[in-house]
């Protein structure tokens, strides 16, 4: 088969090998730095690809993307700071594991789960390009709306025991998402006449605030006592085959959700990670452990965001339409080398497409290797004395924030979110619903209004579109189950107190 020989040629070409290795290494480091998103990490190296061969250039760019999606989970687990948007779901159980001294184990799980999911995603990319690219076409505005509603319904399950508190935070998140430019008419809202808020509030700032800054604040409030937190094993522990088999459910859920979400423009790794976290919790035999260091809670979102890295390439390659910022950079890289992605790409440049598949395989392997090499030093770093650590994390987070837009205004957004997050922590409000509201609000609003514009205000459309109907039913089911278990828990609690 020609395809296989193209791929083999690619993986044995020194320049491609070097490009994959360099890309992945830079990607992991970039992803691990809060603020440096995968797309920025890619854009920073793009000028260096001008003189490479086209194949080496795109292998390097996709390598950065793969590395960065993995790298984001390192600070998520070790310092409660999601390095990338898609690592936000990993923070909950990953950091809980770290606090229990199982940080090295969590890192190993995330690395292995990410690698396996990336490889499975690659197989799907090779075998199922045509059906998966059709998926992007099925998503019309009503379906996007329903998908986002399903994402939001996860709030019911992630509210850590207090549905009312979860709903309050979800609504605050949705309110934050209305700041900025109206998605349909372009009218500005709540910007107070300034230019800073025209683009809305970026998710990553809210995430860095409520996770990282809030955590730093509570660490500072705890004072200098050396108890607990940093007594983790300074060694990375890879999961064995037995452990992986035990976690196969979460791994499968994460990979599956990631592969399906990847090709849908705009859904992406963040939504995939949250949905798979929720599904893993629901199908788990021990759902009560979620939020308190469940291994499944690390494996599922990490598998999801790495599976996305393979399947997200599909619309970019087959339609020439980028579904995310990272893919927009990749498209730019292709165009600079005079390659026009689109339905004709596979027939005009099979060497490139199959070569890229080979390169993706290499990148996933390099991710495993570099991951192992880098995790040791990373764990050593977070075991330094707390005052040093807190101060330097603060500096890294804030300089990362500044590097995104070079705007001091963004500091205030992060610091205010930090205060909000700290307050939530003290009052025991769950964090995830807020994040979900911020991430999904725009998608819900824009597509709800687009749908009604298309039907002249008829709400029927959400039930007539089969995809939308199915997703809304799933959302209903998720909410129903969560309410039932909440009621059961309350009754049980009451009975327990009576006895």
């Amino acid at each position: 088969m020609d395809g296989i020989s193209y791929a083999l040629t690619a993986v044995t070409t020194p320049s491609v090998l070097l490009a994959a290795a360099g890309g992945v290494l830079w990607g992991i480091l970039g992803g691990a730095l809060p603020g440096l998103s995968p797309s920025i990490a890619m854009a920073l190296l793009l000028p260096f690809t001008f003189d490479m061969t086209p194949l080496a250039a795109i292998v390097m760019l996709t390598g950065i993307y793969i590395g960065a999606e993995y790298g984001g989970s390192i600070p998520a687990i070790l310092i409660r700071t999601p390095g990338t948007n898609a690592a936000a779901a990993t923070v909950i159980d990953g950091y809980a594991m770290h606090q229990q001294g199982r940080g090295g184990e969590a890192l190993g799980l995330s690395l292995v789960a990410g690698t396996i999911a990336g490889l499975v995603g690659l197989i799907c990319l090779v075998l199922l390009t045509a059906p998966l690219s059709a998926l992007a076409l099925y998503f019309t505005p009503p379906a996007y709306f329903a998908l986002a509603i399903m994402g939001l319904s996860v709030i019911a399950a992630l509210s850590e025991g207090s549905l009312v508190k979860g709903l309050i935070m979800g609504i605050i998140g949705l309110m934050i998402s209305t700041i900025g430019t109206d998605p349909l008419s372009g009218v500005t809202r709540f910007t107070f006449g300034g230019a800073e808020l025209l683009g809305g509030i970026e998710y990553i700032f809210v995430m860095l605030g409520v996770f990282a800054v809030a955590e730093l604040m509570s660490k500072m409030a705890e004072g200098d006592d050396e108890e607990g937190i940093t007594k983790s094993v300074a060694r990375v522990k890879l999961p064995g085959v037995k452990k992986l088999w035990a976690l196969r459910g979460a791994l499968g859920i994460g990979t599956g959700v990631g592969i399906i979400e990847g090709p849908i423009p705009g859904a992406g790794g963040t939504v995939a990670a949250f949905l798979s976290y929720n599904e893993a919790k629901r199908w788990s035999k021990t759902p009560e452990q979620f939020g308190h260091g469940a291994e499944e809670g690390v494996v599922a979102p990490e598998a999801a965001n790495n599976a996305v890295t393979s399947s997200a390439l599909i619309p970019t390659l087959t339609f020439g339409i980028p579904g995310s910022n990272s893919m927009a950079v990749l498209l730019g890289g292709l165009l600079i080398h005079g390659i026009q992605p689109g339905p004709m790409l596979l027939s005009t440049r099979p060497d490139l497409v199959y070569g890229l598949f080979g390169g993706l395989f290499l990148s996933n392997m390099f991710m495993l290797i570099f991951g192992l090499l880098l995790l040791g030093p990373a764990v050593w770093l977070v075991n330094r004395p707390k005052p040093y650590l807190t101060a330097s994390i603060f500096m890294i987070v804030l300089s990362g924030v500044y590097s995104i837009n070079q705007s001091l205004f963004d500091f205030w957004v992060v610091l205010l979110s930090g205060v909000l997050g700290y307050g939530m922590k003290l009052l025991k409000f769950p964090v995830l619903p807020l994040i979900l509201g911020v991430v999904l609000g725009y998608m819900i609003e824009a597509n709800y209004r687009r749908s009604l514009l298309l039907t002249n205000g008829e709400h029927r459309v959400f039930f007539e579109n089969p995809l939308s109907l199915g997703l809304l039913l799933c959302a209903g089911l998720i909410i129903g189950l969560a309410v039932v278990s909440e009621i059961r828990r309350l009754r049980h609690g009451r009975r327990a107190t009576q006895e």
Partner: protein
């Protein structure tokens, strides 16, 4: 996913595209190295365009061209870079309508008013396209369908503040029709909406459609240009079809105010020659760009007209 633009800082990402050619053909340009600033990231439309200019215009003007990507804030940072640079003809900004839209909407510290057009190169033709198997064959079929079923025809355009949307709002006024103009988060999303049948008609630049055009998945019904555009089949303009709409999505060069007259003259002569260069011509026709060469005086008039129409559009639709 609000912005598909890339907000990376690429300040240092400068690359010399070509060293100076042999003997300079024109009068000596006052500086040796000229920086061309773009707010687009490497690989974006303007970035590729400036690199091509550097390649072909370098030998003509006897100058080294260096392309610098100063991204962020829709061009605000790039405009400031040019205004704060030396006033000797060593730094220019590759300008599209974006910098005027940004100036009007975000009120950045440096706006288009602090800059002066130097020359215009191209017009990026806006096209009206449909799926290959669409029942519409001309722009008038679209008008007839919209008249028969007011609000029944959906047109996909990119962002709310874009020229695509502006032209389709004007289209309805000119033809007396009422259609649904569906805005998106970016140009790619709008193409998907046409491909999956959410919208029956779309408006886009040629570059964004190239892949679909090559695969014969979409057909272009009309272009909003003065003349027919080469390289896309023989597509009549909107004006030929009786709908008098022309959109000027210009691509030009702007610089600081009060540049030395010999600098302006060197650019006007150099670019006039460049546009006739057969290799350069081959490149821009393949890209679907329309030769719209303008001298400084012409480019100034064109910019004023553009600003007036854009302000009227923003006011009418309460975009600010």
């Amino acid at each position: 996913m609000k912005h598909y633009g890339i907000r990376a800082l690429l300040g240092a990402a400068a690359l010399a595209t070509m060293t100076a050619g042999a003997t300079p053909a024109l009068a000596e340009y006052p500086v040796e190295t000229v920086r061309l600033i773009t707010h687009s990231s490497p690989g974006g439309g303007m970035d590729v365009f400036l690199r091509e200019i550097g390649k072909h215009l370098g030998p003509i003007m006897g100058v080294n061209f260096v392309v610098e990507n100063v991204t962020g804030s829709g061009g605000a940072a790039a405009m400031a870079e040019v205004v704060n640079g030396a006033k000797d003809g060593s730094v220019f900004y590759g300008a599209t309508p974006t910098h005027i839209i940004t100036s009007l909407l975000s009120a950045p510290p440096v706006t288009y008013e602090d800059l002066d057009p130097v020359v215009n190169f191209f017009n990026d033709p806006q096209t009206v396209y449909v799926l290959a198997d669409s029942p519409y064959n001309t722009l008038n079929d679209v008008v007839d369908a919209a008249k028969a079923n007011p609000g029944g025809v959906v047109v996909a355009v990119s962002t709310p503040g874009s020229l695509d949307r502006q032209v389709m709002e004007e289209f309805q006024a000119v033809t007396g029709t009422s259609m649904v103009v569906l805005t998106h988060d970016g140009g790619g999303d709008a193409v998907l909406s046409v491909l999956n049948g959410t919208a029956q008609v779309g408006v886009s630049e040629i570059a964004e459609l190239r892949g679909q055009l090559d695969a014969k998945a979409v057909r272009i019904l009309a272009t909003y240009t003065e003349n027919r555009v080469p390289g896309i089949g023989d597509v009549p303009t909107a004006r030929e079809q009786g709908i008098d709409l022309v959109v000027s999505k210009f691509r030009g060069l702007v610089g600081a105010k009060d540049l030395p007259p010999e600098v302006i003259a060197a650019w006007e002569d150099g670019v006039a020659k460049l546009m006739e260069d057969p290799e350069f011509r081959k490149w821009y026709e393949a890209e679907g760009l329309e030769n719209a060469y303008m001298t400084q005086a012409e480019a100034r008039v064109a910019r004023d007209e553009f600003v007036t129409s854009l302000k009227a559009f923003f006011e009418k639709f309460d975009i600010k």
